[in-house]
């Protein structure tokens, strides 16, 4: 059962509560279950991935994606690495995100589509979509899903996360808003979703670390991080993303400024829904590429 956490729980166990507002995810002893195997997450960055207009350079982004997948699968041959993820007879849904102020870069959708095709899947068996999944022919029969979205802070769930990206797999997304969206991970256990996700990519090229106003956005709070977080375990990837956001907020504001409200749904994804692990002690974070201002 989920523990009712307070600031004091963190003070008692770590001597600092500042991390708690971020996620409560830096505290292995008190929170998490008994996953024995570590979740591997790859953080890859390249300082030249974006051009002067903020658009991704395709060759660099492709290299980043390939190196991340190769590292994640521990397979130097990228073709073979993808073949571990996608089979030729798969029907593949690439769940993207179209939020107009910070969408998944279309170029990344295209690259993923290319890689899936190179794994032997024909073009007409691949769909790239955010909205209307329940009535989409490809997503309705999808045997494999790839989840890709940018990370950003969010007014109600704390962050827009990989876990949250699947809210479009339900008819009534608002039914999951209760308790600051604590139970979003339950969507991942629905029959039409469960067990299908082969890869999760949290786009950290230009994350949003703070939001203002009705649209929770201002360019002032977007920063060029030039990274991708890639993993099989969406909870682990989200947990690492939140730590980066939280560190950026501390650096920017000059003081601890917890993500508000706390992204409870990530902890609940671990503790209540057992979707993956949010415990840093159970996450094998592998760094690749540019290290400056990595924040983690």
């Amino acid at each position: 059962m989920a523990k009712n956490l307070t600031r004091r729980d963190f003070l008692k166990h770590t001597g600092q509560a500042s991390i708690a507002g971020a996620l409560y995810l830096s505290n292995p002893g008190i929170i998490y279950g008994n996953q024995s195997k570590k979740s591997r997450v790859v953080l890859i960055r390249h300082k030249d991935v974006l051009d002067d207009n903020g658009q991704p350079r395709k060759a660099i982004l492709a290299d980043m994606l390939d190196e991340a997948v190769s590292t994640l699968l521990q397979e130097s041959d990228i073709q073979k690495a993808w073949q571990q993820i996608i089979k030729p007879d798969d029907v593949v849904g690439i769940k993207t995100n179209v939020w107009h102020l910070l969408p998944t870069p279309p170029m990344l959708n295209d690259l993923l589509t290319e890689r899936v095709q190179q794994s032997g899947v024909t073009e007409n068996q691949i769909g790239v979509k955010d909205r209307g999944l329940l009535s989409d022919a490809i997503f309705k029969k999808a045997s494999a899903l790839i989840n890709v979205r940018p990370m950003r802070t969010h007014d109600w769930s704390g962050v827009g996360s990989l876990i949250k990206n699947y809210i479009m797999f339900v008819e009534k997304p608002y039914a999951y808003h209760d308790d600051s969206c604590a139970d979003l991970a339950s969507i991942w256990h629905l029959p039409h979703v469960k067990g299908k996700t082969r890869l999760n990519i949290l786009v950290m090229l230009t994350p949003l670390f703070h939001g203002v106003g009705p649209h929770h956005f201002n360019p002032k709070y977007v920063w060029q991080y030039d990274g991708l977080l890639v993993g099989m375990d969406p909870v682990a990837v989200d947990a690492m993303g939140v730590r980066i956001l939280q560190a950026k907020r501390k650096a920017y504001f000059g003081e601890d400024r917890p993500i508000n409200p706390p992204p409870k749904h990530i902890r609940m994804a671990d503790e209540r829904h057992h979707l993956g692990t949010a415990d840093p002690a159970k996450i094998d974070l592998i760094y690749r590429g540019w290290a400056e201002d990595r924040y983690i």
């Binding site: 106003g213 601890d256 409200p261």
Partner: protein, 304 residues
């Protein structure tokens, strides 16, 4: 018997229809009021449409994913209008009717970083964006990316709306309880929904202070030689609720508070609390015990 049922049914139908008509009339009145705040043009920008009005049931259509914040502050209605000018960014204005001034103030202060009163009763400007509140209205005006002309138009539009709203509204009464000494004004946060309890630092995941719709809460930071204490005041509907919240807080947070009103926490800062009548006041993260207790003592009018 059938006749009685028919009469009853008839009467109920009339009541329902009257209620429905009343609701419709109220909604129309709100829509018209919101429209009256908006000009047809601003500098060279022309209004694209007469203004789209949203209510509690469909706000998410306009601010997908962001509606819950406004709903938690008892949002009532909103109008959105877009102004267009060739070669310039669109100007998007949203005016939220929050029902009461205190809710407009709360939603404005929610993410405020600076103190500014250029527009309304409080405003905040960053490149391409102006927010302000006046009376029961929260106003957001955007134009990305900002140009020199759009910046001027944004300010002109903000001034127009400010003038058309006309009157100021009252601040939430609980704000007056905050001691002024060492207060950092931009850090005041007012709310009636427990999810905003963790605005400055993580206090608790669950609603351990039993904050409900009718509970008025204020959070603010106080500066002590660059170290910041946080004062929380919650005002409940009656003494019993305050007492119940106090008991839950102590049991959940630290049972030692039952015997000592001030305690040093594991990070060496001090927590201190008191309950007076229907209010609960708690100081967190004070550098010294005396500071925590003095701040608590100077919370005004805790006795109602």
């Amino acid at each position: 018997m059938y006749f009685v049922h028919f009469k009853t049914l008839h009467a109920m139908l009339i009541i329902v229809m009257c209620c429905f008509a009343g609701v419709l009339m109220a909604q129309n009145a709100k829509s018209e009021t919101l429209r009256s705040f908006l000009p047809e043009s601003v500098d060279g920008w022309q209004a694209e449409h007469s203004g789209k009005v949203y209510g509690r049931d469909n706000l998410y259509e306009h601010i997908n994913g962001g509606a819950e914040l406004y709903l938690s502050y008892k949002f009532s209605a909103m109008i959105n209008r877009v102004y267009m000018e060739e070669g310039q960014p669109d100007i998007i204005i949203d005016i939220f009717d929050m029902g009461k001034p205190e809710n407009a103030f709360g939603v404005f202060m929610h993410s405020r970083e600076t103190v500014d009163t250029t527009f309304g009763q409080g405003s905040e400007s960053v490149p391409g964006m102006i927010h302000f509140w006046r009376n029961r209205y929260f106003v957001s005006i955007l134009a990305y990316p900002q140009t020199e002309a759009s910046d001027a138009a944004l300010k002109k539009l903000a001034k127009t709306v400010h003038n058309r709203i006309g009157k100021d509204g009252l601040l939430p009464q609980i704000i007056t309880r905050l001691p002024n000494k060492n207060l950092i004004p931009s850090t005041i946060r007012y709310f009636t929904h427990h999810v905003w309890l963790n605005s400055y630092f993580f206090i608790a995941e669950e609603n351990i202070l039993q904050i409900e719709d009718a509970t008025h809460c204020v959070l603010a930071k106080y500066n002590y030689d660059q170290k910041k204490a946080v004062l929380l005041i919650c005002q409940y509907t009656d003494k019993e609720q305050a007492r119940s919240a106090r008991d839950r807080f102590i049991a959940s947070y630290n049972p030692q508070l039952e015997v000592q009103n001030s305690l040093q926490e594991e990070d060496d800062t001090w927590i201190s609390f008191k309950q007076d009548m229907r209010s609960l006041a708690i100081v967190f993260k004070a550098p010294h015990r005396q500071q925590a207790e003095k701040l608590l003592q100077s919370v005004t009018n805790l006795e109602e």
